[in-house]
Assembly symmetry: C2
Homo-oligomer: 385 residues x 2
């Protein structure tokens, strides 16, 4: 049969059926469902990663990212990985061994920042708050004064707790201490107000699969002038080739030097997702997220379910709803998935068993989804009572 | 307008048109066009990364990867990035500072292995050959004896040169020297014979966008028992969180612990691409690639164009065609793109200006594409004469 006279072993040659995925409504902490127009863009004609038409797509995507993030940083790109890759890119590039990195830890993703920073040789210091609380400006000032860090890492919207960190005054304080401000905007970008430049944020990252309503697999990253300055003064190469922004900057910059093959079709999807944000307008989008979140909070209250985070610091895109006594949170989530194709998540870490995490993100932030979820939860609680 | 009383700056709020990408025929070194069934799978219903239905997709994808790679390694997964991320994952996990890593450098990707290994603290040694040649078993044996490396890195199919490294005897030799064998199969997997287990390969990686005919953005990785043993004996955490296979193993293993959000729809695409390979059968697929490559080589000869690599070591999936004297390789490539929507690439590094790189990969390895390309090249050469 083969002219090469080489016979393959068929023991792993399984026959699998045509893909048939259920129509899930993704109301957990992400991924959220993507917009129908994004689905269409995802399967547009593929081209090469140095094709002139692709370079247009790249430029448009960068500019739209600047709008959504409210920044003028020239270095604003999508990273070829998920949000965690963009998160790691900030640290891999801007931490040099021995740098003090101060992290505000009030949830799972603060912990992850610590883990990542350590891997790049940082001396990690922490300020901590219980999961679900936020830091005051005083607490941050005290932390900066005590630790004099090269970088302060904060999570704007903690996906594990549903708390929104107020940003007033933090960036200015960081400049006084000559500290770079690194901000996780994974669950805030495109859902709640983010003003990177007004807040003096030096580095930020996000995910595509939260409030931007795009599939996971591509992740926004931005580095401001002070971060680029630190990067340019590195004594050693970053201990990460794939995420080396000096190399990648040559592909995204005017040189267009090949680094790695960009995920072409994921770029199409992100461009379309951002285009939809620009059409709606950020203010309208923030309003919509807030309005639907309030609808959810009221409905939960009617079911006798409280929210974990106090109202003032509650995130519109992700709600942590307290599980009533005697209820198994995972059983309810699994009932919703099995019976109604609705995906919500249980708590993580300190909040395991204590909360459900309910996301109303991007395209999914619609009143009909709130009404459906509340009715389904009511039925689930009755059925499992 | 906004209840939040926050006004966004509209200076980056550009209006961009609906995405309208040209119908390129991708006959360069990758990405190649993807199969129509892969395009369909790419836009299937999205689900959560811990959804029971997604876990089925994960298992099927892993098993199909084992078939295509001809390995029984339990640790065989797609990495959430492009081929370069999977490449880096092998080194990030298996190199500890001070390890001697020997790399066979006969092209661009051998150089890249050196760069990456250095970033993880390896003491890098090289054996070198001109771009387009391959290593003999003797040369490799001499390298192992001289350098006694912990890891030997080789590129099976050098995308920059079109040479195919013969693998007979190398794996056995590596075992004698207690060396782990790392193999780049980016441009060979699914196009030319690859037998990881028979060859005693300990670590390998690939890309999705070459002979598998899937979009870029997800990348196969496999670690054999000896590589996992080395990983388990690390004294330090890998200096890379995103690609930490000990953490990722808990998501892909029975624990299903969240690490990062997998690129759901890219996984669908890869599963379909692999399913197509399993339907066709590896032997048929290898034959098809070989037959169409020979058709190309004959046609090029008819045009008076020679191949850079001697026939014995020529790669079926990627041909480096020598640019005739007096011809500007980039001008021809750009003529083909502009006039016929055909994408081929110019040479890289040592071969810049000297060759065109022509890929006939996966779905694109079809006689009609060969005939079209040859006619278009003839016309381009006439037009630019």
């Amino acid at each position: 049969m083969s002219s090469l006279n080489l016979k393959a072993d068929d023991s792993h040659r399984i026959q699998v059926s045509q893909l048939d995925m259920p129509p899930r409504l993704l109301l957990g902490p992400g991924p959220s469902n993507f917009h129908p127009r994004v689905r269409q863009a995802l399967s547009a004609n593929e081209v090469g990663h140095l094709d002139p038409k692709f370079i247009e797509v790249m430029k448009e995507t960068q500019e739209l990212l600047r709008y959504v993030w409210q920044t003028s940083n020239p270095f604003t790109i999508p990273v070829s990985g998920t949000g965690s890759a963009a998160m790691e890119a900030t640290l891999a590039n801007c931490v040099e061994p021995g740098d003090v990195v101060l992290v505000g830890v009030n949830g799972y993703f603060g912990e992850r920042l610590c883990d990542m920073a350590e891997r790049y040789g940082a001396e990690v210091r922490r300020i901590q708050k219980p999961w679900g609380e936020v830091f005051t400006l005083n607490e941050i000032g005290y932390g900066l004064e005590t630790h004099r860090p090269a970088i302060l890492g904060l999570v704007h919207a903690e996906t594990s707790t549903g708390a929104l960190q107020p940003m007033d005054g933090i960036g200015k304080l960081c400049r006084e201490f000559d500290t770079l401000l690194l901000l996780d905007t994974v669950t805030s970008l495109g859902g709640v107000p983010v003003f990177l430049d007004r807040w003096h944020v030096d580095m930020a990252y996000s995910g595509s699969q939260k409030c931007l309503s795009c599939p996971p697999g591509i992740a926004p990253l931005t580095l401001g002038p002070r971060a680029l300055e630190k990067l340019s003064q590195r004594k050693t190469k970053p201990a990460n080739w794939y995420l080396d922004m000096t190399l990648l900057g040559k592909y995204w910059g005017d040189e267009r030097t090949y680094h790695h093959t960009a995920p072409i079709n994921m770029n199409y999807a992100l461009r379309e997702a951002l285009r939809i944000v620009a059409e709606e307008g950020l203010e309208n989008r923030w309003d919509r997220h807030r309005t639907n979140a309030e609808l959810l909070w009221e409905g939960l209250a009617d079911l006798g379910i409280d929210c974990h985070v106090e109202r003032e610091h509650r995130l519109a895109s992700l709600t942590t709803a307290l599980v009533p006594d005697g209820i198994d949170s995972k059983e309810v989530a699994s009932h919703l998935l099995r019976n109604y194709n609705i995906d919500i998540a249980a708590g993580l870490g300190q909040l395991a068993g204590k909360v459900w995490r309910i996301g109303l993100m991007g395209y999914n932030s619609r009143p009909e989804n709130v009404v459906l979820l509340l009715s389904a939860m009511k039925k689930a609680l009755e059925a499992l009572d």
